[in-house]
Subunit: 302 residues, 2 copies
């Protein structure tokens, strides 16, 4: 098993009520890859500029993350700058410098083409489809998107979704994509567009999964210190798909365990800036928090 | 086992995106009592005016709800009028006519004084304490409150909380009461005020319980049609405490099952205006939805 991930590799400048981090490693493919690599080898496709440093590359190199698909282009690396509100529940984008990411055309190296699992990070749905055209019958295609594509490229997005098995979006995106406020109705409408499985991420309120077997609700892990929420959604996706691929299964039981594993990884991600916490995380810590999730949610029959 | 509940019995006029109900049965003690009465006999203490009709009384009379403590006073019954936003996530109070409720002084009938469980609905914390002074060593005292008392009568409220075992409030109230944004920190601060167990209600996002055994997270049941959220919190409290009292236990396992039972009852409450759905609910439907909650949340070990 291996996972092909296509998405952004970026520098983030993040300000939270607890501090500021300047030009630290970020981007959806970065968070995804590190989280997934705890479970399954990852094939990374992305683009960085000449300014992308060796220290950043080192974050990937010590792991089961293949970097042949990480293109280096003349110019600067994608840079996102954001500031969180005092309660961390909303954020303001201060600037988005796409830089080399503006010209990103995913080129899938030959030995990535047989990846068993594919994660289409949040990029133009047309590019997402071009990725699918370069791979050979993956077992599972998972996909992220955002409001920008839902409002700006809906028809392209629908064509992509028709080829997606698992869609991971947040609750606002689910409402926008479906035109339904109620999440159960939204899920039914979205699943008709293609994805058999829909995962709705609700941040501190956890995750809802809608699949052929019905619905599954998982809480977020109640943390005393949430330091920086940046990347939590991509980390969730990485933990989810990384674990799922490692099971060699995509039945309901595996999907549910994968949702909890995604939530587990995300709960670590937010404990520090950038990928700092993920990079010093151990498998033993992961398994222990997974067990705590069971304790957090368990109740007996009547 | 029996439960003493003290709170409001009211007429509600409610407007939702789906319709309007005029002067229908409402009030915290009404929702609480009907929900709790599925599990444990209820002793109701409240006040209504001369305008309170036989049809409304009938809602209680067919159940294990003792009405000796429902005082009838000259004047009109408490009337609340509210309007929900299109998404049901916020509501505007259009008018609050306290009427006879303004002069409510809870008088506990002699045969209520040995109730094993007490629920102090959302009234002046001074009155809540007067209730406690009229009862004989209940096994469990549960309590609700609101922003009005937290900001207006904090010292009185703290004196009451020192005598409370289980506090049930929403997330905004927990933040206000503790001065902490983070719910884990808020819970720790609030439990120091007295309640061994804190239940934080998050509406469509479910419930968090903090007890001596740690934390427990329960989702709300994902409903396709939420018709009217009025009374959901009080119905939760009724299902919770009614079930808990029926177990004769207040250990962690019973508390967790009680949280799910509260969530189960609340999920029915919101399916119709007023108490309409609760009044035609059967125990078989309740048990079936409890089972669905297990299916909704269950996942396997790694």
């Amino acid at each position: 098993m291996s996972i092909l991930v296509v998405g952004s590799v970026a520098y983030d400048t993040v300000e939270t009520p607890f501090g500021k981090a300047e030009r630290v490693l970020g981007g959806s493919a970065s968070f995804f890859s590190v989280a997934a690599s705890f479970f399954t080898p990852v094939n990374l496709v992305g683009v960085v500029g000449r300014d992308f440093g060796e220290a950043q590359l080192a974050a990937f190199k010590d792991r089961a993350i293949d970097l042949e698909g990480l293109e280096r282009m003349a110019g600067d690396t994608f840079h996102w700058q954001g500031k969180y509100s005092y309660d961390l529940n909303s954020r303001e984008t201060i600037c988005t410098e796409l830089n080399v990411f503006e010209f990103f055309k995913p080129k899938i190296p030959a030995r990535y083409r047989r990846s068993s699992h594919v994660f289409l990070g949040n990029i133009d749905p047309l590019l997402q489809r071009e990725v699918l055209e370069q791979v050979e019958q993956p077992q599972v295609v998972a996909c992220d998107t955002m409001n920008f594509w839902i409002s700006g490229k809906l028809e392209e997005l629908k064509k992509t979704l028709a080829r997606v098995d698992i869609l991971l979006i947040n609750d606002a995106e689910a409402r926008q994509l479906s035109g339904e406020w109620n999440v159960v109705k939204a899920a039914r409408a979205i699943r008709k567009l293609g994805p058999r499985t829909l995962i709705i991420k609700k941040g501190e309120h956890g995750v809802l999964m809608f699949s052929e077997q019905g619905s599954f609700a998982a809480p977020a892990y109640p943390l005393e210190e949430v330091f920086d929420p940046t990347g939590a959604g991509d980390t969730f996706a990485g933990g989810f798909l990384g674990y799922l691929a490692s099971t060699g299964d995509h039945g309901e039981s595996a999907l549910r365990r994968a949702v909890i594993m995604g939530s587990t990884l995300a709960s670590f991600c937010v404990e520090a800036f950038s990928l700092d916490r993920l990079l010093r995380l151990t498998r033993a810590e992961i398994d222990e928090r997974y067990r705590l999730f069971r304790r957090l949610t368990h109740f007996e029959e009547l």
